[in-house]
């Protein structure tokens, strides 16, 4: 018998809605709707349940429905001085953010959002619930399906409920900007949350206790500013951190995350091709976990 916590009513309803027949598309807040291609016409649109079901501040974990907005999640967490550093449009849903699997601009410090996931309950192609991971902050029981589902665009299963790790909200946050070599800045600082560069200007986000933020800021000849710049939303590339040095000419608008390798562009970018063996493994996963291709059809991770 499965002794993990009981299943919330709305999850059962979500599973029944997905059922076992016909193509379905899970709708979040449509903030990253076109990633991976638009859903095939004619598939039923379904929303994942919303609600923060349990927040255990002393465990620093939170469990919510996949349809919960990042705003609602962080409002709950902040009541106890905690946060889940998604750093996306606050209207985005938690499930949508995880299904798309793009990290936020403080990744340099907090890692990929994938690493915040402790447990996922998803509805599979036959309308059945599957639980993977575990509710505790550390766990290696069984295969890590949670990591597989993050960034899967809902094609291997529909995320229903997630348990996430929370982090303490830092005492002080400071943004700086100016000109300077972003790579030198990176080498100067100790585990900064964010260094952004558009080819001319740099922005540095610092967090921590006040004295540390001040001492780190004092290492840099930059001016204080309110926030990071707006992120270009036309396209996105994923490069090796050191390849960012090659991004010199400002022929088009871009903003690079130094030390991470994500580059935000104003214009659409072509995704990197997959190697043949990886393509094969991914197709094998798709045909085993969704043999009839009914989950989020139209979205594509593995180009044919």
């Amino acid at each position: 018998m499965n002794t993990q916590h009981s299943v919330e009513e709305p999850i059962l309803k979500y599973a029944a809605d997905i059922g076992s027949l016909g193509p379905v598309t899970i709708v979040g807040s449509r903030t990253q709707w076109d990633v991976g291609g638009l859903p095939s016409p004619g598939s039923r649109e379904i929303r994942a349940p919303a609600g923060v079901w349990s927040h255990q501040p002393e465990e620093m974990t939170v469990r919510c429905g996949a349809g919960t907005s990042i705003r609602e999640l962080n409002e709950e967490c902040s009541r106890f001085g905690q946060m889940v550093p998604f750093d996306l449009n606050p209207e985005a849903t938690v499930g949508g953010a995880l299904a798309v699997g793009r990290s936020g601009f403080r990744r340099l410090r907090y890692g990929h959002i994938r690493d915040l996931v402790l447990q996922i309950r998803h509805v599979d192609h036959s309308g059945l619930l599957v639980t993977s991971g575990g509710p505790t902050v550390k766990n290696v029981s069984g295969y890590d399906l949670c990591r597989l589902l993050v960034g899967s665009l809902g094609k291997l299963g529909c995320i229903a409920e997630v348990t996430l790790r929370c982090l303490p909200i830092p005492e002080t946050t400071l943004w700086l900007t100016g000109t300077g070599d972003p790579f030198e800045i990176y080498n100067e600082l100790y585990r900064p949350p964010s260094i952004l560069w558009d080819g001319d200007q740099v922005w540095v986000g610092l967090e921590g206790v006040k004295s540390d933020v001040e001492s780190q800021a004092a290492l840099l000849k930059l001016d204080q500013t309110d926030s990071p710049p707006p992120f270009p939303e036309g396209g996105r590339r994923s490069l090796e951190p050191k390849a960012l040095r090659g991004l010199v000419e400002r022929s088009e608008g871009w903003l690079a995350e130094i030390g991470v390798g994500v580059v935000h562009y104003t214009t659409p970018q072509v995704p990197e091709p997959l190697s043949d063996p990886n393509k094969r493994l991914m197709s094998e996963l798709e045909c085993r976990l969704d043999p009839r291709g009914r989950l989020n059809p139209g979205r594509q991770l593995v180009a044919t």
């Binding site: 890692g111 766990n139 069984g142």
Partner: protein, 479 residues
């Protein structure tokens, strides 16, 4: 009539690939039948490749002869993951132990799987970096083994376990294809095969090269030893520290018996009269460390702490850690054998579950010693025993099952860092439904439809095709 060994054709082929690094029949092979657990299997052929190409050819030969294979690192695993069952060819990575490249611009290092965890950190330290996962076995365990078990360690409380520190893995897949899972970019295209492979205990292929992420060495480190006259106060202080919004770099606990054996072994100046000690480490920039020390002191005071010892220098700090890291070896002073458990419970349940662990040990007439990663609720009860006592292993196993049951009833999980392997395979159903496990098996099958890689591990046999190579459980093994 004892004709040529049925292994001969395969062995001949393996020798044509790697010469006398393919071994069979010699006495020392017995070592490859075990890992750090009490389980034991029967190795008949052992290969010691030096390159990806050799691993690929060995896997190819295994396929042609319809023989499964098993990857082996240093054999320190505690769940029987590296114990050969179903007569696999053992592919040991011990000779693939080169640090290939330290790429500071990308902050990664490329290593071969047999590189020992601590050897990498030792090499990185002068450059200002380290590899964050630091299992207590780090002097001897391999990075390939760390990847396969998704290892943790004391400092994973703040830094995260292995999966957060691995960018890419070159893998020889069970069909002999070589591929790279993940890459050095932040968002590789497609599904996260890298994340899936990590923790798959050798059942999805053999890691032959690994790109690990480097972590900056902290500018400031403070290590504190807090003693409590009641273990319950110590355990309650653990959750209270975290509830303050402080995540120390490490937060370890030792109970009275652990303190006694460790102190007798390493003379670290641990307070032998205490009922429990907490070893707390704070690291980072000076201000955060200082404020962390204050929070720890305040919370500890509120929980009736006795003495608070702050390591004055690196030497004292190393001494305090030496006690913690040698705890398992020290146990040999009370009993020749021990069984090391690994479960996780919510931090708030530590007191309750610890009390149950003591009761269970009493009930089965065993000695329980607790040294563990308290900060993330990761219990490591050690059951000390003397294997020469008749019937003792049955009691050890029964007590172990009771501890796992108690942890899961408290809202915990089967394993925090040692993995499932063979040891906990048949307990998977305590945490997962049949359908959960079937789904996990479907995922495994995408990598290894014929069950060639490390057969009979992780999932209970019977969940689909994992029993293609027979279910023989070797003498002395317990599953």
């Amino acid at each position: 009539m004892v004709p040529v060994s049925p292994d001969k054709p395969l062995l001949d082929e393996l020798r044509s690939i790697i010469g006398d690094r393919a071994r069979a029949g010699d006495f020392e092979l017995g070592l490859y039948g075990k890992d750090g657990s009490v389980l034991e299997g029967r190795p008949s052929i052992v290969c010691l490749p030096v390159s990806t190409e050799e691993v690929q050819q060995i896997v190819g030969a295994c396929r042609r002869h319809e023989r499964p294979f098993i990857a082996r690192g240093s054999g320190t695993g505690l769940a029987g993951g590296a114990v050969p069952v179903g007569d696999p060819v053992v592919i040991a990575t011990a000779k693939m132990n080169k640090i290939i490249e330290v790429d500071l611009d990308n902050r990664v290092a490329w290593v071969e799987p047999g590189v020992l965890n601590l050897d990498l950190t030792t090499q990185l330290k002068p450059l200002g970096f380290h590899f964050a996962p630091d299992p207590s076995s780090q002097q001897v365990c391999s990075i390939g083994g760390n990847v396969a078990t998704n290892s943790g360690g004391p400092h994973c409380l703040a830094y995260g376990v292995t999966s957060s520190h691995v960018a890419a893995i070159e893998v020889v897949l069970p069909d002999g294809t070589v591929t790279l899972l993940g890459d050095l970019t932040p968002e590789p295209a497609g599904y996260d095969l890298r994340g899936l492979f990590i923790g798959s205990e050798g059942t999805m292929g053999i890691a032959t090269k690994i790109a690990v992420r480097l972590t900056q060495n902290p500018p400031e480190v403070r290590t504190l030893l807090l003693d409590f006259s009641d273990v319950r106060d110590g355990a309650a202080a653990v959750s209270a520290i975290i509830a303050e919004g402080l995540i120390p770099a490490a937060l370890e606990m030792m109970d009275h018996r652990a303190i006694e054996v460790v102190e007798a072994f390493v003379n670290a100046g641990y307070p032998t009269e205490a009922d429990a000690v907490l070893l707390v480490e704070l690291d980072g920039l000076a201000g955060g460390v200082a404020s962390g020390v204050e929070i720890v002191r305040r919370v500890a005071d509120a929980h009736r702490v006795g003495n608070v010892r702050v390591a004055a220098d690196d030497a004292e700090r190393a001494l305090l850690w030496k006690g913690r890291k040698n705890a398992f070896g020290a146990v040999a002073r009370i009993k020749p054998d021990y069984y090391l458990h690994d479960t996780v419970v919510p931090r708030g349940k530590l007191v309750e579950v610890l009390e149950k662990v003591y009761r269970i040990a009493d009930e089965y007439d065993l000695i329980a010693i607790n040294v563990f990663h308290a900060g993330d609720g990761n219990l490591h009860p050690i059951l000390a025993y003397d294997a020469r006592e008749p019937g003792v292993l049955e009691r050890v196993h029964a007590a172990g099952k009771a501890i796992i049951t108690a942890s899961i009833e408290a809202g915990g999980v089967l394993s925090g860092e040692h993995g499932i392997g063979l040891e906990k395979r048949d307990y998977m159903g305590m945490l997962f439904s049949e359908h959960d496990m079937t789904t996990q098996d479907l995922v495994r099958e995408a990598f290894d439809p014929d069950g060639f890689a490390n057969p009979l591990k992780v999932l209970p046999s019977g969940s689909r095709c994992s029993d293609s190579f027979g279910q023989h459980v070797p003498e002395g093994a317990w599953v």
